[in-house]
Structure formats: C-alpha cells, structure tokens
C-alpha cells in the first residue's frame, strides 16, 4: 500500500512538472508567434517602443534575455519565494507559492489565486454534494425498477437537466428566487468565515445550477450501473440468504454500483476546479474561473500560468485520492 502511494505520488509530481513545462512553453510561444517581446505580456502596457534601450533594460531585468531553460529554472525556483522589482516602485516580496506578479492587476498572482480559490472550492464542494446525493438517489430508484413511473420521471428529468446549459438555468433561477420571489439575496460571494448563513444563501443558487447537469449525468450512470449490478449472481445469492431488500440494495447493490462512480467523480471534481467559468460569471463570483477568463482577456500571462498550474494540481490530487480510494474500496485491486 505504501509503495503504491509512493509510486502514485511520484507520478503526480511528474504530471504537475509536465503541465508546468507545457504552460511555460506556451508562455514563451505566445509572444514569439505574435512577434512581440514577452515583456509586453508580462508587465502590461510598456511605454517604450521596440528596440529602445529602456525596453532592453526591462527585458534584462525580468530575465527574458536569458536562455529559455534558465528562465524555466528561475520560474521553478521562484515558486519557493523571490523578490520582484520593476526598478521604479518598491520591491515586492513574493513568498511561497510564488507564481510571479501581475502588473495588470497590481497584485501577486498567489494573492489573486488565494482570494479566488475559496470561492471556487465552496462552489465545487457544495455542488458536488448536491449532485452526488441527488444523482445517486434518482439513479438508484430508477435503476431498481426500470420502466416504472419513477424511472421514467427520473430519466426524463435527467434528460432535461443535461440539455439545459448553466447560462440558461442560472439566470432563470436568479430571476425566480432573487428578483421575483426575493427569497435569496443577490449575487456575489459572502465569505464563509465572516457570515456562514450569508455564505450559504449566496452559494445556494450557484450550487443548484452547477449541480443540475452533473446530477443528471450521475443519475443516468447510477441507473445503468444499478440495473447491471442487480442482475449479478451475487445479488441472487444475497436474496437466497434471506436478506431484507434494504440490505440487498444498499450493502450488496449500491456498494458495487457506486464503485465505478468514485473514479468518475474524482476526475469530474478535479476538472471542475478549473472550469467553473460560466457559473462564476452568471452569479458574479470572483473565483478561479472568473480570474482565468479575466486574465485571458487582459493577456495577463503570469496569472494564466498560475491558475493553470493550480487547476492541474487540483486535478492530479483528485486523481491520486481516487486511486487510493479505489484500492480501498475494491479488494481485487492489488496495491
């Protein structure tokens, strides 16, 4: 088991390393393709024309004149802390984890990400709980009696939910519960630490609209797994033992039916961390998705680099947890 965890952990580091190389490569490639100096993307508006000695000085200061591997090495070691200075304003201390400084937003990338991630994490965890509970419940009851009224209603609902995008359900929910009924306050994030109830109220609609699509997918998945599992020989054995229906369904049926869902959930959740843009935009949440779309729009490369690496790390950690969990859940997986 320990060996297994160590091997997976090493793999995890490798994946993050590859992601960082790739993103850093794109960081270098983008200015090259648009025939500008990286310094323009790095610092925002630079008042110096190309070729001027001031620009050369700036390029030299930020190290863009050095070979790319050296730049990458400086970026990598820089993550563990460095001092950033543009030569005119006061130098900025950038502690671990340091992804550089956003001259467009005048803040450390780590601060920007640090402000954004609690929003995204709140959104993802809340939505995940909703869609897991909802999807598995609907899927289980549908799968137990395929063709029944419950099944048809559940699957029709799931089909509708899959077909409705967040930029439709989100505004509809807002219109209904905020602007018409007035049951919930308007958009915007309320930190959990300052106002738990306000946090809950502010996150409820984003959770629901984000969970909607996933719940539908999970309901269909659970349903098909459940139908398959309930036809297995070991379910017949469980019945032949004289077990009650609840034990058969929950202990013998769901246990097996949900195992593959754990894998998919890990990947979905990890992916979600970096892809909640639409939900965040609709509900005016300043999370990672919002941050990344903003930095793309402003061509703010340090932030894009930082968000990408954070999202990759989240995905890799989620996968790692799933792998370990899978070995615990399924005794046939030898570790």
């Amino acid at each position: 088991m320990i060996r297994f965890i160590l091997v997976r952990f090493a793999g995890m580091i490798l994946v993050v390393f590859i992601v960082s190389v790739l993103t850093f490569g794109i960081f270098q490639l983008a200015p090259l393709l648009s025939h500008t100096s990286p310094v323009y993307y790095y610092t925002g508006k630079v008042p110096y024309p190309p070729g001027s000695p001031q620009l050369q000085a700036l390029i030299h200061r930020f190290g863009f004149d050095q070979p790319i591997p050296v730049q990458y090495w400086q970026f990598l070691t820089g993550i563990f802390g460095k001092t950033i200075t543009d030569g005119t304003s006061a130098p900025v201390q950038c502690p671990f984890p340091c992804f550089g400084y956003s001259f467009r937003q005048n803040d450390l990338v780590s601060t920007l990400i640090g402000n954004a991630w609690p929003v995204t994490l709140s959104l993802c965890i809340g939505a995940a709980i909703l869609w897991l509970v909802g999807g598995v419940l609907v899927g289980t009851f549908s799968g137990l009696k395929p063709g029944s009224f419950v099944d048809r209603a559940g699957m029709t609902g799931a089909l509708a939910a899959v077909s409705l995008p967040i930029f439709f359900t989100g505004p509809v929910l807002l219109l209904l519960f905020v602007y018409t009924l007035g049951w919930l306050p308007g958009t915007g994030y309320v930190p959990l630490t300052t106002d738990p109830l306000g946090w809950f109220e502010s996150m409820l609609l984003p959770w629901v609209s984000l969970a909607f699509i996933f719940a539908a997918l999970y309901a269909r998945l659970t349903r098909s797994n459940m139908i398959e599992t309930m036809g297995e020989d070991y379910i017949r054995t469980a019945r032949a033992k004289g077990l009650d229906r609840r034990t058969i369904v929950v202990k013998h049926g769901l246990r097996a039916a949900l195992t593959p869902i754990v894998t998919i959930f890990g990947i979905d959740f990890g992916t979600l961390i970096g892809s909640t843009v639409i939900t965040e935009s609709v509900f005016n949440l300043r999370g990672l998705g919002y941050l990344s779309i903003q930095s793309v729009r402003q061509q703010d490369l340090p932030v894009i680099l930082g968000v990408t690496i954070v999202a990759a790390v989240a995905l890799v950690i989620a996968n790692f947890i799933v792998d370990v969990l899978y070995a615990v859940i399924d005794p046939r997986v030898t570790v």
Binding site: T237, G242, L243, T259, I329
Partner: protein, 355 residues
C-alpha cells in the same frame, strides 16, 4: 443436528412424503413476444435424507423450478401457480417478506458459478456470517466462530486464516466449498444445488459431490441436485426427474430410470453421455434438433419434433394429443404415447446395445 426429525428409515410414510411436495407447479413469464412457459405443470416429491436429481438441457426449466421453490421469482413479473408444500406449508402464496424467513434458514441454495455468486467486495467470512446472522440473533464474534467452524467442516484448510480472504483469493473448488458452507450454516432442511459442479474441474467435482452427500447424511436434509450431467445423477441421486420443455417427461428412482428408461428423450440423454464402463462406441449419439420454444410449445408431445419413434404410435397422436405422465412401474412415471411394452422392446432392441 436435526434431532426433531427421525431418520428416513423410521419416518412415517406420510410425514416423510409431505416434506417437499411440488404439485402442478407452473412458472410463466409474460414477455413482449408472448407467454414463456418455463415450467408447465411440474410435480414431484422429496423425503428427508434423499437426493433428487433434476436433469435436462439448458432451458428445460430446471433452474426456474429451483428458484421458484426458493421464492426468488416473487416481486418479478413471473406468474406462479400450483403448490410447493414444504413440511406441510404451501410456499406459493407466501409474500416475498414471508418467504425471506424461509430462504437461507429452511431452504438454501448453491449456485453454478461460485465466483460470480460471491460478492467481490466482501470477505468470504463476512458473507457466510451474514447468512447466519440474518436468521440467528448472535453477536458478530459468535457468527465468526460459527463461520470458521463451517469452513472447517467443508474442508477449507487453515480456515481461521482464510476466513478474511476475498473470493478472488480462493480457488474455484474452495469458493464452491465456501458457498456450501454459506448454504448450510443455518442447517437448512432442504438444499438446492443448481449445477454445483459445472464450473469446476473434474477432480474437484467429485469432492464437492461427496461433500454434499456427507452433509446430507449429517443434517438429514433433503437435496435437490440440478444438473445436465447424468453421470452426476447416477452417482449421487436417489431419484431423478427428467425435464424437457418445462415438463417432467420421466421420473423415478435412479436405478429404474438408468436401467430401464422408457421416454425417448431420456434415451437421447443417455446416448449423448460418454460412458467408461461400456465398450466405446464409434461416436456419441446427439439428440437431433433444438429444444422447443417455450412460447409456442408444440401441440401434442413437447418432444415430438425431435423424437425418432413417433411412428410407433397409431395415427399422429404425438402431434395432436399431449401425453400424460403415467406410471409404468411402481414409482416410475413416463410421459409418452408409445405403449409400455413397445417402449421396453424398443429400448432393449435399439437403444441399449448402442449405449
């Protein structure tokens, strides 16, 4: 064990006969293509301490019968009629919940493929103990001790060490032993073994059959052994029911049915079985054709499309009139239009020399 029930030799005939009595059992499944008559009017009796073999091809209704006795069709769309008297109680009208108390405790079942019949995520010990605890109010510790005891009884070496293994860590034979331990842990009065040796290799088959016989002796249980292997029946069973197309076509004691079979289908089964105790024939004789559709059961005899001997019956009765299951000798019943004397003559002349 089984101290309340006297040994079969001294049991009064009536009590013993009533132990398991299946009367005119019908199991029909409505499907979109029509009504599937998986079992159509099956009757047999079983005494304690006896082993009854049910033989027939795939789709002849053997397993469906077994599952009907265990009440596994309850809650499905199957239509079941007739009576299944177990110890004087009719199981057919019981609800699924009432039947739940009977399953595992009074009737237990062993299935064909022990790997797929065991849950992959729970240990052997957990799964056996679960069967015990559902019918007995005991602590987990007691159930575990009992589980280890049962595993030892069915011949699992180092049972205390293997009880926490998962099914995939057991060999095929050991898994079937574990299934038997699970089935017998509540000391059922009736054990149904549905092709218990089909998925096992030959050396293990004999061990498993011996084990079933030993445990039958010890618990004085009645056993129904479902198989398509006539060798298994000849070796293990006291009585045999030959099923074809959801019906019993011949039944009697194993000696009668194997020595003097009278139904052409039984002849076919015997002819397609390899024998070591006779001079080897050039080839085994397969039964031509396919088993009948259970939706459109042929009029007349169910076996008429594959029977070579229907010209031994006057007119076309085999194709127009459904034959009754009639006694031909004490305890030996046959469903065939051919006259008994003619059947015996045909067997002696045409069938026996080729077996």
């Amino acid at each position: 064990m089984a101290s309340t029930t006297p040994a079969p030799a001294v049991a009064t005939a009536r009590d013993a006969e009533l132990f398991l009595s299946v009367e005119d059992l019908k199991v029909h499944f409505p499907t979109e293509d029509g009504l599937v008559k998986s079992v159509d009017g099956l009757s047999f009796e079983l005494r304690r301490g006896e082993i009854l073999g049910i033989v027939g091809e795939s789709g002849s209704g053997k397993s469906v019968t077994a599952q009907a006795i265990l009440g596994l069709h309850k809650g499905s769309r199957a239509r079941i009629s007739g009576h299944i008297w177990l110890d004087g109680r009719d199981l057919v009208p019981l609800s699924d919940e009432e039947m739940r108390g009977v399953r595992g405790s009074e009737i237990a079942m062993i299935f064909q493929d022990p790997l797929s019949s065991l849950h992959p995520f729970y240990t052997i010990g957990d799964q056996i103990a679960e069967a015990y605890r559902v019918h007995n109010k005991v602590s987990a510790r007691e159930a575990r001790a009992r589980t280890i005891e049962m595993l030892e009884k069915v011949g699992i070496p180092n049972a205390p060490g293997r009880v926490d293994d998962y099914p995939h860590q057991f060999s095929g034979g050991m898994r079937q032993r574990a299934m038997i331990a699970m089935a017998l842990i509540c000391q059922p009065k009736l054990l149904i073994a549905d092709e218990p040796t089909t998925a096992l290799d030959v050396t293990v088959q004999a061990q498993i059959l011996e084990l079933i016989k030993d445990l039958r002796d010890e618990l004085n249980s009645a056993v129904i052994l479902i198989t398509h292997d006539l060798g298994v029946v000849a070796e293990t069973c006291d009585h045999v029911v030959v099923m074809y197309g959801g019906q019993c076509v011949e039944k009697g004691s194993v000696d009668d049915v194997f020595e003097l079979p009278e139904m052409p289908y039984t002849w076919g089964l015997l002819g397609s079985m390899p024998r070591m105790d006779r001079v080897r024939q050039e080839r085994l004789t397969p039964i031509p054709g396919q088993p009948p559709s259970l939706i459109n059961v042929p009029t007349g005899c169910v076996f008429n499309t594959r029977c070579r001997f229907s010209d031994h019956v006057e007119g076309r009765r085999c194709f127009t009139e459904h034959p009754q299951l009639l006694p031909t000798a004490p305890g030996h019943e046959v469903r065939c239009h051919i006259e008994p004397e003619e059947r015996r003559r045909l067997f002696e002349l045409e069938i026996k020399p080729k077996l």
